[in-house]
């Protein structure tokens, strides 16, 4: 994380005209409210009086359709993974995922638990991680500023990766969860992938 990442250019009118999309995404990060794990305990302080994330345009929203930031707060059990994938796929693009806490990175404390998945980025793309158990609310801000930098540089492209490698992700998901109830999100890409594999195989 560079020092520059903390810089806020919300009032830079020129930039607004140059790339309104990126600027809009940066300063209006609507986080999907989903208590996936114990990390959620630090989200209320982050959005209320003490830290007030709304200063930076970060607010929790009710449904995935309205959100563009997915905070995976804490460990992900197998049962939750299904709901996470469903919610992630319903979010409109561009969308960003941030893994909050050590557990989604590599299982953390629950590295030998039979019911939590260990690496979240095997199942959905993750744009940034916040390490710690539990990370402090300030860490959320650091992650947000870091995400700004990534958006600025065009590097927060997890959703494109998901689109491109959808078949692989889907296969990983189905390995853990069994057959998924919903049809593939990008059926065309998956067919392409399959045909490519056939050629290679």
């Amino acid at each position: 994380m560079t020092k520059k990442s903390g810089k806020m250019d919300r009032n830079n009118i020129g930039k607004w005209f140059k790339s309104p999309g990126n600027m809009g995404q940066k300063y209006s990060l609507h986080a999907l409210y989903f208590c996936t794990g114990c990390g959620i305990i630090e989200i209320p302080p982050t959005i209320t009086t003490r830290w007030d994330a709304e200063r930076f345009g970060v607010i929790p929203v009710a449904t995935p359709r309205q959100a563009n930031l997915f905070l995976i707060t804490g460990y992900v059990s197998v049962k939750t993974l299904r709901y996470i994938i469903r919610s992630y796929e319903q979010m409109p693009e561009p969308k960003y995922t941030v893994g909050f806490g050590s557990c989604p990175i590599n299982g953390g404390m629950y590295w030998d638990s039979y019911n939590t998945i260990k690496h979240l980025d095997k199942y959905i793309p993750v744009d940034g991680w916040i390490a710690g158990c539990m990370p402090r609310p300030e860490a959320v801000f650091v992650a947000v500023t870091h995400l700004w930098t990534l958006i600025d540089k065009g590097m927060a492209t997890g959703y494109l990766k998901y689109r491109e490698h959808y078949a692989k992700y889907r296969r990983n998901q189905e390995k853990i969860l069994g057959e998924l109830e919903w049809p593939p999100l990008f059926s065309k890409e998956e067919e392409n992938e399959k045909s490519r594999e056939k050629v290679a195989g």
């Binding site: 989903f34 449904t63 995935p64 359709r65 299904r82 709901y83 996470i84 469903r86 919610s87 319903q90 109830e181 919903w182 049809p183």
Partner: protein
Amino acid sequence: MKLEILLAVFFGGSLLTYLLGKISKRARDILAVLVLLFATAGITSLYGKSSTATLYTGFLDFPMVLSIHPFAWIFALTIAVVGLCAVIFSWLYIRKKGRTDFFYFMMLLVIFSMIGIVLSGDFLSFYIFWEMMSWSTFLLISYNRGKAIAAGMKYIVMSVAGSLAMLVGMISLYTQTGTLVFEGISGSLNSASSGYLQFILILFFVAFGIKNAIWPLHVWLPPAHSEAPSPFSAVLSGVLIKIGTFGFILLIYGIIQVQVFVNLGHALFNVRNLLLLLGAVTILIPTFIALFQDDAKRLLAWSTVAQAGYIILGIAYGTSESLSGGTLHFFNHALFKSLLFMVVGAVEFRTNGVRDLNSLGGLIKKMPVTFVAGLIGVCGLIGVPLTNGFVSKWLIYHTLIVNHSPFLAFVALLGTWGTILYSYKLIHHIFLGQLPRKYEKLQAAPVSMKVPMIFLSLTVFVFGVLPGLPLHVINLSELGFGMEPLAINMWGVVTGSGSIQMLNIATALILGGIVLWLFFRMGPKNTRADQMDNYAAGAPVPADRYQYSVKFYDPLTRMIAPYLKDIADNFYSALARGIRNAGNGIRRIYTGDVGNYALYIILFLAILIFIQLYWKVW
């Protein structure tokens, strides 16, 4: 064209249709439409004419007179057009069922007897056509058998009671004036006493009120509408019950002059106030009852009762603006309500007779044209600007407000807001929401159903933007009644205290819509999502179980339900129960609820006559 020839063609055509049906079904279908096309054309050609023709004089020395004037013309044309649409609509609708020849015959008979009523120039022919209409209606309502027979019985018994009241009124008028021709009666009633006029008005009020389903006399209507075949429901609701309206206008404005009518009786207790009060109640209570209905056609039936209240309010208020509003609302209501019944009929046709709102949903994906027609119909019913219901309701509200009757205006406006609630319920439950799996292979409505629906939707829209067209004819008829016509133009009405210009509203709405649509297009392209790709708190959407339709307005209905029972129905039933307990004899003669309604209406009339004969109160 001569009126006699017109009528002869009508009834001859009906009979011919019936006979032709024995030979070829297709030819019969086409002939029915041709006859109605001829009727429409013939009536259209009579535009602006006022003429009277004596058809026959020999019948007990009573002349039978036919007459045409702008006021009758607009009614006749509406009847013919709605009838035409309904008959085209029934082509496929009725094919699956039996006794189709009979259906067409009765359908044409009803339509032409209604035209006969509005064209008749004396009470005798009025009465004859009236009875023809009543009986053929009865046969059509009970066409489906089963529950429909009970509904038909309820109708015919009440209808007979109404006819009786009318007969008494006619005889009384004849003894008073010595003639049955409208013009003659009108001329000699000038000297009649106020009490006598009120007596006559109440008698005819019973007759017309039953047909028009005014509040305590409405009980036949909801079952009849929901049980009748849908194309006939369209006719029934659109025009047939408005024959009562015709009767009211004829009586109040044509026979007893409006100035006389407004000044009848005492300050507060007079027929006009009674009518206004009943009109208001008719708006309010059925609107609330409609909220509770789960049967699409029954909901529309209650809505019809409520809308009749607006018409009564307009007619009984007695200003030229209110009469314009009332008449225009009749015309508009005929268009959008028959459209709505056709929409429900099309859905019923495709889903094999499902009318239960709670088991439908999401049909917009399968029947888009039907949905658009339904939406336009509902907008007309609510009175959304750019549809015709808006102008007529505006006229009624405006006259009530300007003439210092805010409470009536309040009831009328509140009724509209109730209308929104049940209209949205209708549209939402049938067309929006999740499509059940069993309807995934549903087909769109057939062309023969789409054509009348599209035509009626267009008229709803066109007369909403150009209210001047019907208002012009209404102005002509008001001139005929000797009233001062409204200041109108093609786009609306101008009055001293506020005016309405559809041109501005339409331009603003359409242009605004286009600009915003372009603005909307500027954004990134949408991706289409299936109905199963939906927010369900992260869970997969449960098929068939993700539709909020049962008890849609539950909190509200739970609140008002205790105060809102069908008082009229309960009143009749309670009285019937009392009488039944008193004597078993009556029970043997009058079986079921139906008989009781008739009994009490007849008793009421008898008491009225008795009082009049012995004490001469009026």
